[in-house]
Amino acid sequence: MIKLVPLLCFAWLLAACNGSVDSAGADSSVVSAEVLNTAQVGSVIGKPALPVRLLHPRQRVDVGVVTEVDLSLVTDLPETSFRVSISPDSGLSVVTGSLEQTLNSADTLDAMLMSLEVRADYPGKYYINLEVVNSGGATGLDRRALALVVLAGPTEAKALSAEPKTIPEKRVLPAQERVY
């Protein structure tokens, strides 16, 4: 087992250099991540952005279980091509899937399907960051950063809060000070 770990790491690195991971040990009956509700936080009046978003931005997986997370994107831009660079947090092992993908929006508003098989060895919250670039030559804002939240383990099913409680405290930052 001790010898196997560096070997697997080496294999992963090799695969990562090619932009994809496809472990020989990948299970053909991979379970799907549980999709979590984000309706509580709703739509916001946000900054201008490339109109693309994750279909399911929060998902839950079991610890130690290879799980397929859904990275499907939704866009209002028809017949457009997107380059997607995927960067999972360390602690979230990618078992199968490419970290560089190209997606094409069709002539419908269906989601652009994309997934990754991952495994979390410890409970916690992980991010899978996506940098999406519109390679279809759109004018204006041509890129957007997105992130999928992956909750691993028996996390509390807390309700999302759009307004943190305000406590009259101060958050101290150190100054560079010159005294004379």
């Binding site: 739509s43 916001v44 009046i45 929060r58 759009a162 406590i167 560079q176 004379y180």
Partner: protein, 574 residues
């Protein structure tokens, strides 16, 4: 237009340059300042007035604060000494067509910020406010361990009253403060200069990102100047910004930092801070854009925007196009820079953006964010920012039944400032917008969208109208998704507004309704299939605006045989 050119001229000379003086010059200037102030004080001055400010005694405890943006102090006594100095932060500029340029980092003053002197017990022993150059002066007890603390809080509390705060939403919305060391105040006057560093070491943020809250504070302060110039009695509620280095692009709990994007939600402007992914503290246009939404809501008393994703190439719901276009135009004007930039990615080395001033964008019309931003930017640049301000601050802006759009803005501006309206008229023509009526009467630009015209369908009490919700331009907040109706009531009483699927679309629908009028708003957002109704107490002589939409997604919206969801809408007395 009186004063029109003056506004623009003033903007062009706003102090924005680096101020970090050579040490000796800074010292000379400070001593000249102190000596002048002592002379004024000795002559009986020093209290009140815009240039003098209030006197703070050495025993004051966080209550006596100058009402101007200049530091203030009393004569030092045998028991006290002056501690003065300057406060600055690292400003990292955006290099056009690239990202943040750390090599061009400049020191900028922290302006109009509250400065506290804290003793070793943690008590505030004196308070002051930085001036335009970031200078402050505090009176301290002699020979006492004290530290200088600068709040990420700027304010004015004289004829013009406003406050800006920058908080950490991942720490119970605690106010950011910059603190120096606890040091002995000594037996004679001394200087303490405080600087908030970016934390960037040439490759990454390896030190605390102390400059970030102060960069946000300063962009908001800079944006505020345009309002201060047009209203000598400006009074605004507190502008709250919430930033954290843990604010990510993930969607979730704001207290965890999962804010999704930089946005305004009516309570605060949340700002991204995730290094290497998307952080906005130095993206001045993003900060000013979101603060523009604050201005729209707080001055105008309303925003009818339904939010959601938007970009300059979209055909948008008119309420969204108006709100976002205003915020873009506002940011470009107050920053005197029409090139909107937003930085991203590894080392914040990439950016994306657009030219707000573009007069012939790809999508032109009342539904185009690009058109609206161009209109507002050029109208302000023409010298009519005061006229824009007058529309937002007019009481009718808040109460007009029509949903907020470029049409409602135009109708009100025509009444308030005919000269500015003439320019608006020209700019609207340039953007292929025909109607000048709050309800878009006689508009002819349909954005190639089925059912987009008329902008408002007339609904007669006791009668029926048909409207359609089309997703051919996208979902949720795009042009055609919401259909608008208007009705005038001739007899006060209870009415039932009923919206029913007329059967043309085979799939299930989930109609939703919003009604504005007589100073009230009603919403019907139930999940009922194919129908929605509202019982309304309506007043004779009042006009009401109605928005109807299908909440269901239409996955077939771009197919050749797409059938939008169409609804029979009726208003009957009950």
């Amino acid at each position: 237009m009186p004063g029109a050119n003056m506004i623009f001229t003033n903007l062009a000379v706003k102090p924005e340059g680096a101020y970090w003086l050579p040490c000796w010059l800074s010292l000379v200037k400070t001593w000249l300042f102190v000596i002048s102030a002592l002379l004024l004080s000795a002559c009986g001055g020093g209290g009140g007035g815009d240039s003098g400010g209030a006197i703070i005694s050495s025993s004051s405890v966080a209550t006596s604060v100058s009402s101007s943006s200049t530091s203030s102090f009393s004569s030092s006594s045998s028991n006290s000494v002056y501690i003065s100095g300057s406060v600055s932060y690292d400003f990292v500029p955006v290099r056009k067509a690239q990202g943040l340029d750390y090599n061009a980092t400049a020191h900028k003053p922290v302006r109009a910020a509250k400065v506290n002197l804290i003793d070793e017990a943690g008590a505030v022993v004196a308070t002051a406010q930085t001036d335009q150059q970031g200078h402050y002066t505090l009176t301290s007890p002699r020979d006492r361990q004290v530290k200088v603390q600068v709040e990420a809080y700027s304010y004015a509390d004289a004829a013009q009253r406003w406050e800006i705060r920058v908080e950490d939403n991942t720490a119970n919305n605690a106010l950011y403060v910059l603190e120096g060391e606890l040091l002995n105040s000594g037996q004679s006057d001394s200087m303490r200069d405080l600087h908030a560093g970016s934390g960037w070491d040439g490759n990454q943020y390896s030190q605390p990102r102390a400059a970030a809250p102060f960069a946000i504070l300063d962009t908001a302060y800079r944006s505020m100047q345009s309002l201060l110039e047009v209203d000598p009695n400006l009074t605004l509620p507190t502008s709250i910004f919430r930033w954290s280095e843990n604010n990510t692009v993930a969607i979730g709990d704001y207290g965890d930092g999962d804010i999704g994007t930089s946005f305004y939600n009516g309570a605060a402007v949340y700002v991204l801070g995730q290094a290497g992914v998307d952080s906005d503290e130095y993206d001045a246009h993003v900060i000013a854009h979101e603060w523009g939404h604050f201005v729209e809501v707080q001055l105008g008393g309303r925003s009818d925007s339904i939010g959601g994703d938007h970009s300059i190439t979209d055909r948008l719901d008119m309420r969204v196009a108006y709100s976002e276009g205003f915020a873009n135009g506002f940011s470009a004007y107050v920053l005197a820079d029409p090139e909107y930039r937003d930085t991203f990615g590894l080392r914040q080395a990439r950016s994306s953006g657009f030219d707000v001033s573009l007069k012939n964008p790809a999508v032109r019309g009342w539904y185009s964010e690009s058109s609206i931003q161009s209109i507002f930017y050029h109208l302000a640049e023409f010298g009519a920012f005061d006229a824009i301000y007058s529309v937002f601050s007019d009481l009718r802006y808040e109460t007009i039944p029509a949903f907020t759009s470029i049409f409602s803005f135009a109708e009100l501006l025509a009444e308030l400032d005919p000269q500015a309206f003439a320019e608006l008229d020209r700019l609207m023509n340039q953007q292929l917008i025909v109607s000048r009526d709050a309800y878009g009467e006689a508009e002819t630009n349909n954005g190639s969208t089925q059912g987009a015209l008329p902008v408002y369908v007339n609904l007669v009490a006791g009668g029926r109208a048909v409207v359609c919700s089309s997703q051919q331009n996208g979902q949720q907040n795009k042009l055609g998704v919401h259909a608008f109706l208007a009705t005038t009531i001739f007899a006060s009483g209870q009415y039932r507004l009923l919206v029913e699927n007329n059967g043309e679309r085979a799939a299930e629908t989930d109609p939703d309704i919003v009604v504005n009028g007589a100073g009230e708003r009603w919403v019907g957002l139930s999940a009922q299939v194919d129908a929605e109704s509202l019982d309304l107490n309506m007043q004779a002589g009042e006009r009401y605006a109605i928005a109807v939409t299908d909440y269901q997604n239409h996955a077939d919206a771009l197919t050749p045989n797409y059938q939008p969801a169409c609804f029979n809408v009726s208003l009957t007395s009950i």
